[in-house]
Symmetry: C2
Subunit: 302 residues, 2 copies
């Protein structure tokens, strides 16, 4: 197994200015795993409740995502309801019910404790550290995501996490919040000093800025004619990156850049429909075609 992801699986209700969709598959690890599965084998560790719809599970197993680490426990699945503003960037969380996620105690099955590529999807840094402690061999590459809440209430744990991972994915607001720096270049460098040699700053529709030991790399988002629902874009961005890296097996300047470009492409598909609907309708060929389009869109011959 080349890629392990640990994180939330949820049932989302999403409202945009144009439409509403209730009880769709969501959660950071679900989005991540689905996106990564276009590139490599993925194992998912997470928890759901007894109410978790079999069709949601089937969505994941149909992509050959290993679900032996998916715990089903008494209680209800994590639920999130959100509403997007007119600009499709800002959103309000209307309802969060952690449910079984509130006491999530990740258990990495023995088959996965030596996985080379590990992604700690958004959870409390304490849970992320707990996962990492179960790896019996230092993975080749560990990346993590986080959010504003943990920066606010769990900074010591987050610092400890950062000192033990290779890459962190944050959005621009989180990077600014964590470092108190407005300029992302400076924020990225400050985060890098905390441990991760690679800092990937997501800028939503504006793409991403990567600060790494291989130098800075900047990529725009693949421009879309229409955005239906950006939920999960960041998670699938990370899924594309880690899926591509795990498939290749090595970390190099060129591999990292290609991986980030693939992440952008996968995220762009995600935005074209609710939940995983657009990703369900695509395939590796279509992803590759859009990847080539994105590369042509940013190409300059000096």
């Amino acid at each position: 197994m080349s890629l392990l992801v640990v994180g939330s699986i949820g049932i989302d209700t999403v409202e945009t200015p144009a439409a509403k969709r209730a009880n769709v598959l969501g959660g950071s690890a679900a989005y991540f795993a689905y996106a990564a599965s276009f590139f490599t084998n993925v194992a998912l560790v997470g928890v759901v409740g007894k109410d978790f719809p079999p069709e949601h599970k089937k969505l994941l197993s149909d992509r050959a995502i290993d679900l032996s680490g998916l715990e089903m426990t008494c209680g209800d699945t994590f639920r999130w309801t959100g509403r997007y503003h007119e600009n499709m960037n800002d959103r309000d969380t209307l309802v969060v019910n952690l449910n079984v996620l509130g006491t999530f105690d990740p258990k990495v099955p023995p088959a996965f404790v030596e996985t080379d590529f590990v992604f700690l999807a958004n959870s409390s840094p304490a849970v992320q550290l707990k996962t990492l402690a179960q790896m019996t061999k230092r993975p080749t590459f560990v990346a993590a995501d986080t959010m504003n809440l943990w920066i606010e209430i769990a900074r010591p744990d987050l610092d400890a996490l950062l000192s033990r991972i290779d890459a962190i994915v944050m959005n621009d607001g989180e990077a600014r919040q964590y470092t108190d720096e407005r300029e992302l270049l400076r924020a990225g460098r400050k985060i890098q000093e905390k441990g991760p040699s690679t800092v990937i700053i997501k800028k939503g529709e504006h793409g991403a800025l990567v600060i790494s030991k291989f130098g800075n790399f900047s990529i725009p988002a693949y421009p879309l004619e229409e955005v239906i629902d950006p939920t999960g874009a960041g998670d699938t961005f990370a899924g594309g990156i880690m899926g591509y890296l795990a498939a290749g097996g090595t970390i190099s300047k060129e591999a990292l850049r290609r991986a980030v470009a693939y992440g952008s492409v996968v995220a762009s598909f995600t935005c074209q429909d609710f939940s995983l609907d657009a990703l369900q309708k695509t395939n590796r060929e279509a992803i590759d075609a859009r990847y080539r389009e994105l590369l042509e869109m940013v190409r300059i011959e000096g």
Copy 2:
């Protein structure tokens, strides 16, 4: 003379969260001409009042900008006072005194009526059309800038202008306002249908998206550790683009992409100090070095 610019010259007072600078050289055409002068010969057509400080004029003439089209008339120079928000993107205009700019009637000197590259810096579309009517030969490439005010109050004139130019530069908010489209790709295509084969959408710190007959092109801004004052960034972005294009003399896919990259680089220098201070301290070599850095920052080998 290879490049002609017509537009405002002003005296600015700028306040940022960190500092304030009073009575500095400003205005769209001044910024544009200064930036373009790193690449080619520039002639400037504009108007100032009797109060225009000789040292501001010297700043322009020191760069070998032809000022024979700079009219000095009775009254005061255009003045603008603005204050930037903490995020350094949004700003409030505190004072605008059009003064002599209010009755600006551009007169293109006979020596420049056959200039090949023309930039109509931000003015009312009526004034921009009046300038264009004075060109006795259809220029190779005419580009224009505009602003939210003209989209609101002078749309028919703006439409007429768009039908007669090769390229329009707008920021993202203006492109959305003009087209009523949220997604910039769609907005750009709608603007293109109005006439200009090239639509350059500025996204501030997020770079630019170019919709053209050569395909879409997307470039990030050159990331800075610190932004001191973004005033004039958009005008110098356009100055770098047009200066580079005019120097080469031809419009091609590659030339346009390189030009936009040079525009980004020149704009990044502008942001590093108030007014033209940072550009004054730089030279073509430093611009070229940063250009190569930007290209390396966006390079991906498929």
